[in-house]
Assembly symmetry: C2
Homo-oligomer: 112 residues x 2
DNA sequence: GGGTATACATAATTTTGTTATGTATATAAA
DNA sequence: TTTATATACATAACAAAATTATGTATACCC
C-alpha cells in the first residue's frame, strides 16, 4: 500500500468520521472502505493505520472488542462518547483547513 | 507562530503557488501573505518555512537573489522554469487530495 | 532601555508517516 | 501440493516534515 504525503495529519480524522458513519469497523475494513470511496487514490498503509487506531483507543476516543470470523480474529472499533465529540471537533478543523487551503491555492474563485 | 497539524505536506505547494502569483517574494513576506489570506488561521513557523525554501531551491524549483532594504537583508525567491511546471503538478495533486478528503469526510454532499 | 516588528537561520525534538517484516488463516489457481 | 492472493493483525527500523527553541541583527516606538 502506498500513500499520499498530503495524508499527514488527516488520518485520525478519516478514521473517526468513518466510525461515526458506521458504528463498528475493523482495521482491514477501514482500509477497504477508504480505497473504495476514493477509487483507489488513497490507500492506507497498515504501518500508519494500526498505530493510529491504537493511539485513538489510548486517548479514549475508541473502544474495541474482538470477534472471530472464519477462524480469523477481527478487532472491531467503535466511538466512545468522548470520541463522538472529537469527531465534530476534528471535522470542524478539517473543514476550516480545507477552506483556507483552497483560498491560498486559488482553488476556489474569489467573489468578484 | 503556531500551526495546524493538517498543514503537513502542503507547505511546498503553498509556497510554489504564492510564487506563481507574485513572481518575487521573500520569506517573511510569505508568512505575512499566508496570515493575511487565511485571516490569521494559518501561521507559518520559521522553522518550517526556511528549510522548505532551501529545499525547493536545492531541488531546482526556486532561485534566489538578495536585496538590502533599511539595512536588513532580504532573500528573494522566484520560480525557475522547472519550478513553474512543479506548481501545476503540485496543484493537481492538492486538488485531487482535497476532493478525496471531502468525499471521505462527507464534506461534499453526494449527488442523489 | 525595553518591547514589537522585520528578517534570516539552524539545532533539537516530536509527530506521523513509509517500508519492511512477521504471524496466521482461507481460497483459488497451477 | 505448493504457490499466489486476500484477509487480518502487529511492530520495528527508518524517513520526512513539522514544532519548539534558540541565535543573530536592524528598525522603530514609547
Amino acid at each position: 500500500m502506498s500513500t499520499n504525503p498530503l495524508l499527514k495529519g488527516t488520518l485520525q480524522t478519516i478514521i473517526l468520521k468513518l466510525l461515526e458513519d458506521n458504528a463498528e469497523m475493523y482495521g482491514y475494513e477501514i482500509t477497504q472502505k477508504v480505497k473504495e470511496v476514493t477509487a483507489g487514490e488513497i490507500m492506507l498503509t497498515e504501518g500508519a493505520l494500526y498505530p493510529a487506531l491504537h493511539k485513538l483507543e489510548a486517548d479514549g476516543f475508541l473502544e474495541t472488542f474482538t470477534q472471530v470470523v472464519d477462524n480469523r480474529v477481527r478487532k472491531y472499533y467503535r466511538l466512545t462518547e468522548e470520541g463522538g465529540k472529537e469527531v465534530t471537533s476534528k471535522l470542524d478543523e478539517a473543514r476550516s483547513f480545507i477552506d483556507q487551503l483552497q483560498a491560498l491555492l486559488n482553488l476556489k474563485p474569489a467573489i468578484k
